[in-house]
């Protein structure tokens, strides 16, 4: 844990990263920034700015997309994860992701949570049970559904599904959790619960989130990075970026003049 004022330690260092898709949609140009451990790191900006692309590059989900160009380095604990022979399966267990729309797998609540563990070869029932209880409590879902873990995950409400997806990512005990607009489809109460959860989680995890609004970004950011059309315009401590932005475009976006 970091004390206020002390410089936090970087969990991920992004060095001059560029990504372009073959269909020319979203891309990243020369991104250099750090993702700090035990902090809520926020990526914000208008749609199409490259935030989701960055998330998908960080755990190499982009490997399956049509990437035309990729250069630069992403160091996770000092190791370049973009190396060709880097173990991507292991990487995805260390860097989890929660998507904008909750996607429960077509199985029970219990099986959803332990899915990643089963893939990793965990068979011990006690270990799986413990993971389910631990992560559902972390995701503030346990009290609501503890008595119906065998039900289909699709029986849950949208907000519950999203917290289930968070629990599912947490089950692998990742070091970094990335969330891509995790509250975009949720009502204010569910949104509040998810934000609370993130505050609780940051002492154990590194959190990287694309919030669904500037307001949310300002509420939760320890560190904030403003992305515009594939470029990193401004990056700094959340308080500074949202109260005294250094770049005119950041200021215009925050004050609602565009976006």
């Amino acid at each position: 844990m970091t004390t206020p004022g002390a410089t936090p330690e970087p969990k991920i260092q992004i060095l001059d990263l560029a990504v372009a898709y073959s269909d020319g949609t979203e891309s990243l140009q020369g991104i250099t920034m750090d993702i700090y451990a035990h902090q809520i790191n926020v990526l914000f900006g208008p749609a199409g700015g490259g935030k989701s692309t960055l998330l998908r590059t960080l755990n190499r989900l982009n490997d399956q997309a049509d990437v035309a160009l990729q250069r630069g380095q992403i160091l996770l604990d000092g190791e370049d994860i973009l190396e060709r022979d880097y173990d991507v399966i292991q990487l995805r267990r260390r860097v989890g992701i929660v998507f904008a729309r909750p996607v429960p797998l077509p199985m029970s609540i219990y099986e959803n949570v332990v899915y990643g563990l089963r893939l990793a070869g965990v068979k011990d029932k006690a270990q799986l049970d413990a993971a389910v209880e631990r992560t559902l409590k972390q995701a503030v879902l346990w009290d609501e559904i503890a008595d119906r873990l065998g039900d289909s995950a699709y029986a849950l409400s949208g907000g519950q599904q999203q917290r289930l997806c968070l629990a599912r990512s947490l089950a692998l005990q990742p070091e970094v959790i990335m969330l891509d607009e995790p509250t975009s489809g949720l009502d204010p109460i569910s949104t509040f619960k998810v934000e609370q959860t993130l505050q609780n989680l940051k002492k154990d995890y590194t959190i990287l989130i694309v919030p669904h609004s500037v307001q949310q970004a300002a509420r939760i950011a320890d560190w904030a990075a403003f992305f515009l059309q594939g470029q990193l315009v401004e990056w700094g401590q959340g308080r500074q970026v949202f109260t005294a932005p250094k770049n005119r475009r950041t200021e215009e976006y925050i004050t609602g003049r565009f976006g």
């Binding site: 989900l61 399956q64 995805r92 267990r93 989890g96 998507f99 996607v103 077509p106 893939l119 289909s152």
Partner: protein
């Protein structure tokens, strides 16, 4: 003419035309049932044919068709599912994939008698399997492949892409994702395709004409390398090759074949409906 009136006329016409689709199939089933029901008896289903097929039962033809159907499934299911999984989950969109797709489409368009000749040349003569259940099953299996591959691929593609993404993001390899998420979700559709494919094969005459079927063989096959009687070919024989054949036996045979094929069809429909209702996405 008011808009409502023209709409009503159009709806009526469309309903009538749709009703016309049902008419021929109902007519065939009812007519064959009426004409053939009198021939159906326990001994008709369980006895050997006698008196130059003019009396006795259908047992060797029924057993032969069952054997060929199972053999077709053994040949076509693994290859068909493998092909579908490859095309849906692994293949990139490039020249060789396009070539495979064109091959499958053309395979579906080849007349069944040509499959028969192909089977005769490759399996019966060149590979020396002789006229046998093996040669017939292989021939029917190849003929069934396009149906199984295209329906199975469609079923696999219908599984939402987001499931694959989630599974991958949780550290799943491609094969783990297929086995644990994609395949279970696609299975009902795949099974339906398999049944519809082998059902068509079960009713085919031309492909087994040169590869498996015996004109008259009043005994059960001892091994898969034996010739066999089969319902569709038997029906062809007693309808055209045997003078003085009692009509009722012909219709009775047709009824048995029709019942077998329709049962498979109904089973496929039930499976599909059962799982559609349980589907959550």
């Amino acid at each position: 003419m008011s808009r409502q009136l023209s709409q009503r006329i159009a709806f009526t016409l469309i309903t009538l035309v749709a009703g016309l689709v049902i008419l021929p199939i109902m007519a065939i089933i009812v007519y064959i049932a009426i004409e053939g029901l009198g021939a159906i008896s326990w001994s008709f289903l369980t006895e050997m044919p006698r008196d130059g097929m003019k009396a006795g039962g259908l047992l060797p033809a029924i057993v032969g068709t069952l054997a060929l159907t199972i053999g077709t499934a053994i040949v076509a299911v693994p290859i068909g599912m493998g092909g579908a999984i490859y095309l849906s989950e692994y293949a990139k969109d490039n020249a060789s994939t396009r070539a495979i797709r064109i091959a499958i489409i053309n395979l579906a368009g080849i007349p069944s008698v040509v499959y028969g000749l192909f089977g005769l040349g490759l399996f019966v003569i060149f590979l020396n399997f002789g006229t046998s259940i093996v040669a017939g099953s292989l021939t029917l299996g190849i003929m069934t492949l396009p149906v199984i591959i295209s329906t199975a691929e469609e079923a696999l593609r219908a599984v939402p892409q987001s499931f694959r993404l989630v599974s991958t993001s949780l550290g799943g390899t491609r094969w783990q994702t297929i086995r644990r998420v994609v395949l279970p979700q696609a299975l009902p559709g795949i099974i339906t395709g398999i049944i519809l494919g082998i059902e068509r094969a079960a009713g085919e005459t031309a492909p087994i004409l040169f590869t498996a079927a015996a004109f008259f063989l009043p005994q059960l096959p001892n091994s898969v390398f034996d010739q066999t009687m089969a319902l569709p070919y038997h029906l062809f024989v007693i309808s055209t090759q045997v003078p003085g054949m009692p009509l009722q036996i012909q219709y009775g045979t047709a009824l048995v074949l029709l019942t077998f094929v329709l049962s498979l069809n109904i089973i496929a429909t039930l499976i599909r409906r059962h799982y559609r209702q349980k589907r959550v996405w």
